[in-house]
C-alpha cells in the first residue's frame, strides 16, 4: 500500500517508483537551498554577462554627481546611488561581481586542486611522503598570509593574477591537511585493501575509492574558503593593495566606502551585503549538496521544518 504525500485514508493510487529523487525536486523541497541556488545563479549570470549590459557605466565618472543617495528618479543607474566619483553604484556592483568571482573562484579552485591532490597522495602513501607534505603545509601556514600578500603585492605589483596566486598558495595547506586526514583514515579500510590486493595502482585507488568519499568534506571546506578569499581580498583593499583601479571588486568597494559610512552608507553597505549574500548562499548550498550527495543523509532533506511541539506524536526528544 502506498501513501503519497498528504496521505489519503486508504491510498490506492500506485506511486511512481522513483528510486533516486531528482536534484531539482530535492532542491525544491529545501527553501533555503533553493533561495541560495537562485542567488548564486543570479550572481554568476551577472558576473558573466553583466559587463555586456552595463558597458563602461561602472567607470563613467561625474564629479558633479558625487555621493547621490539611492533614488528612483535617476534612471536605472541611479537606483543604488553614486559613489564619491559620481559612478553608478549599481553598475559598479555588477562590474565588481565579475572581478570578485574571477579572483575568488580561480583562487579557491587552485588551492582545492593542488591541496587535495597533494593531501590525498600524501595520506594514501603515508610514511616519508606524508611527513614531507605535512611539513610543507606547516611552513606555509606559519607565514601570516595577509603579510605575505602585502609583501608580494607591493613588490610584484598588485595584479589580479598575483592576488589569485597568493590566496591560492596560502590556502593550500588547509586542503592538504583535510585530504590527508581523510585519505589516511581510508587507506586502511577494507575496500581499499581489497582494491590494492587486486593490483589496482595507487592513483586509481585514490581516484576511484578515496576521492569520492573525501570530496564532500573538501567541497565544504572550499565553500568556507570562498568566503575567506573574498574577505581577505577585501582586507587587502583596506590595506591599500588588492584589486587596483579601474578594476573594482566588492571588497575594494567596501574598503573604499568605509570612509563614507556616516555620510553615504550605500557605498559600503551594498557591496558588503553582496559579499554576505554570496557567501551565505554558497555555504547553504554546500551544506545542502553535502547531504544530497550522501545516500545515508539524503532523507534529511525531506524533513519538513519542524517547529517546537508541532507534532505531538513524536516527542521532540526523538529528533536527534
Amino acid at each position: 500500500m502506498t501513501r503519497e504525500e498528504p496521505a489519503g485514508a486508504d491510498g490506492t493510487s500506485p506511486a511512481p517508483a522513483r528510486h533516486r529523487p531528482s536534484w531539482w525536486r530535492m532542491l525544491g523541497r529545501d527553501r533555503a537551498a533553493s533561495a541560495a541556488a537562485v542567488v548564486l545563479a543570479v550572481t554568476t549570470l551577472v558576473a558573466l554577462f553583466g559587463r555586456l549590459v552595463i558597458g563602461d557605466r561602472a567607470q563613467r565618472q561625474d564629479l558633479d554627481a558625487s555621493l547621490r543617495p539611492p533614488s528612483l528618479g535617476e534612471g536605472v543607474y541611479g537606483l543604488l546611488g553614486t559613489d564619491v566619483l559620481g559612478r553608478s553604484v549599481l553598475a559598479r556592483l555588477v562590474d565588481a561581481a565579475a572581478t570578485t568571482l574571477s579572483v575568488a573562484v580561480p583562487a579557491v579552485l587552485c588551492s582545492l586542486l593542488i591541496g587535495s591532490a597533494l593531501g590525498l597522495w600524501a595520506g594514501y602513501h603515508g610514511g616519508r611522503r606524508e611527513s614531507v607534505a605535512m611539513r610543507v603545509a606547516d611552513v606555509i601556514l606559519s607565514f601570516p598570509s595577509l603579510l605575505v600578500a602585502v609583501v608580494v603585492l607591493y613588490v610584484f605589483s598588485p595584479s589580479a593574477l598575483n592576488l589569485v596566486l597568493i590566496l591560492a598558495v596560502a590556502r593550500i595547506p588547509v586542503y592538504l591537511r583535510t585530504a590527508r586526514a581523510e585519505a589516511a583514515e581510508l587507506r586502511s579500510r577494507l575496500f581499499v585493501d581489497a582494491a590494492r590486493t587486486f593490483g589496482t595502482p595507487g592513483r586509481e585507488i585514490i581516484r576511484r575509492h578515496i576521492l569520492p568519499i573525501a570530496l564532500p568534506t573538501l567541497l565544504t571546506v572550499a565553500t568556507l574558503d570562498f568566503c575567506f578569499v573574498m574577505l581577505t581580498e577585501s582586507s587587502l583593499s583596506f590595506l591599500g593593495i588588492g584589486i587596483q583601479p579601474p578594476d573594482v571588486s566588492w571588497g575594494l568597494m567596501v574598503a573604499q566606502g568605509r570612509q563614507y559610512l556616516q555620510t553615504a552608507w550605500w557605498i559600503t553597505v551594498l557591496p558588503g551585503l553582496a559579499i554576505v549574500l554570496t557567501t551565505v548562499s554558497a555555504t547553504v548550498l554546500a551544506a545542502w549538496a553535502r547531504i544530497a550527495t550522501d545516500p545515508a543523509q539524503r532523507w534529511r532533506l525531506t524533513l519538513p521544518v519542524k517547529r517546537r511541539g508541532a507534532s505531538a506524536a513524536v516527542p521532540p526528544e526523538m529528533i536527534p
Partner: protein, 309 residues
C-alpha cells in the same frame, strides 16, 4: 606522550628553518630601505654609507650568513625605524596579540560549542536555521568594516564603549575582541553543528538516550567529546588565521601588537623586526599545532593509544 612531544618538536625544526629562510628572502625582495631612512635629498655617498652600515651592500648569501650567525646567538638585529633591538620590540608586542587571540578563541570556541550544539540538537528547527544564518553572516562580514561600524555605533552614537586604545578597564577589550571574534565564531558554529549532527545520530547517542539521559547529558556528556575533533582542527587553523585579523584590529584600535608591528615593519622595510616577528609567530604557530595534537590525544583515547606513551 613525552616522546611524542619530543618527536613533534624535532620535526618542527626543519620547517622553522624554512620559515626563517623564507622571511629573509621575502624581506630582501622588498628592496633596499635606504630611501625610507635617508632624507629625500641624500647623496649617493650617504646612501652607500647607510647601506654599508646596515650591511645591505653585501651579497645576499653574505647577508643571510650574517643573519643566521646572529640569530644563532639570539641576536635579531636592531630596528632601522626606532633603533631599538628587534627582539625587544617583538617581545613587547607579542603578549598583546597573544592575549587578544587567546581570549578571542576561548570565547569563540565556548560560544560555538553552545550555539552549534543547540542548533544541531534539532536540525532544521527554527533555532537551527537562525543560528546557521547568524553564523554564516558573521563569518562573511569584513572585519575592518565591522570594526569601523563598531566604533561609530558603540563608541560614538551610543557611547557605551571607548572607541579604541589599550588603556582602561575590560570595556576596552570589547570591540577588538568582537571584531576578531566574528569570523572564527561563525565558522566554528558551522563546524560544531555539522559534527554534532553526525555525532548525535550515532548509535551510542541512541543508547545513551535509551538509558534515560537528558538532552543536556546526551549533548555534553556523550556527543560533544566525539564531535570535538574536527572542531579542534578548525579552531587551530582559525587561531593561525587570527594573525591576519590582528593586523586589522590592531591597526584600527591602536593596539601595539605583533600584527601591527609586522605590517609597519613591512611598510617601513624594517627587516630585522619583520624577521624576528615572523619567526616568533611561526614558533607560536608550531607550538599551537602541537597543542592541537595534544588536545586530540586528550579528547580521543583512540588517538592517545596510537601515540606511543
Amino acid at each position: 606522550m613525552v616522546h611524542f612531544l619530543r618527536k613533534r618538536i624535532i620535526s618542527s625544526a626543519v620547517p622553522l628553518f624554512c620559515v626563517v629562510l623564507g622571511v629573509f628572502f621575502l624581506a630582501r625582495m622588498t628592496g633596499n630601505p635606504v630611501d625610507l631612512y635617508l632624507p629625500l635629498s641624500a647623496t649617493a655617498e650617504q646612501r652607500a654609507e647607510f647601506s654599508a652600515a646596515q650591511g645591505f651592500d653585501l651579497s645576499i648569501p653574505a647577508q643571510l650568513w650574517n643573519y643566521l650567525a646572529d640569530a644563532a646567538r639570539l641576536d635579531f638585529g636592531t630596528s632601522l625605524r626606532t633603533g631599538q633591538p628587534a627582539t625587544e620590540m617583538v617581545l613587547d608586542a607579542f603578549p598583546v596579540t597573544l592575549q587578544l587571540a587567546g581570549v578571542t578563541m576561548l570565547l569563540a570556541i565556548t560560544g560555538a560549542l553552545l550555539v552549534g550544539s543547540l542548533a544541531a540538537y534539532r536540525p532544521n528547527s527554527l533555532a537551527d536555521r537562525f543560528a546557521s544564518l547568524l553564523s554564516m553572516t558573521a563569518a562573511s562580514i569584513p572585519d575592518f568594516w565591522f570594526a569601523v561600524m563598531g566604533v561609530l555605533v558603540f563608541g560614538v552614537s551610543l557611547g557605551w564603549l571607548p572607541t579604541s586604545g589599550t588603556l582602561g578597564g575590560p570595556e576596552i577589550w570589547v570591540l577588538p575582541i568582537a571584531t576578531l571574534l566574528i569570523r572564527p565564531f561563525g565558522v566554528l558554529v558551522q563546524v560544531v553543528r555539522g559534527s554534532m549532527v553526525s555525532a548525535l545520530s550515532a548509535p551510542y547517542v541512541k543508547i545513551a538516550r535509551s538509558k534515560g539521559a537528558t538532552p543536556l547529558r546526551v549533548i555534553f556528556g556523550h556527543a560533544l567529546r566525539n564531535a570535538v575533533t574536527p572542531v579542534l582542527t578548525v579552531a587551530g587553523d582559525l587561531t593561525v588565521g587570527l594573525v591576519n585579523g590582528a593586523v586589522i584590529v590592531e591597526t584600527i584600535f591602536g593596539w601595539p601588537g605583533i600584527g601591527k608591528l609586522m605590517i609597519d615593519s613591512i611598510l617601513q622595510r624594517d627587516f630585522a623586526v619583520l624577521q624576528a616577528a615572523v619567526l616568533l609567530t611561526a614558533v607560536t604557530i608550531f607550538a599551537l599545532n602541537i597543542l592541537v595534537d595534544v588536545c586530540h590525544a586528550l579528547t580521543d583515547p583512540r588517538v592517545r593509544q596510537a601515540v606511543p606513551a
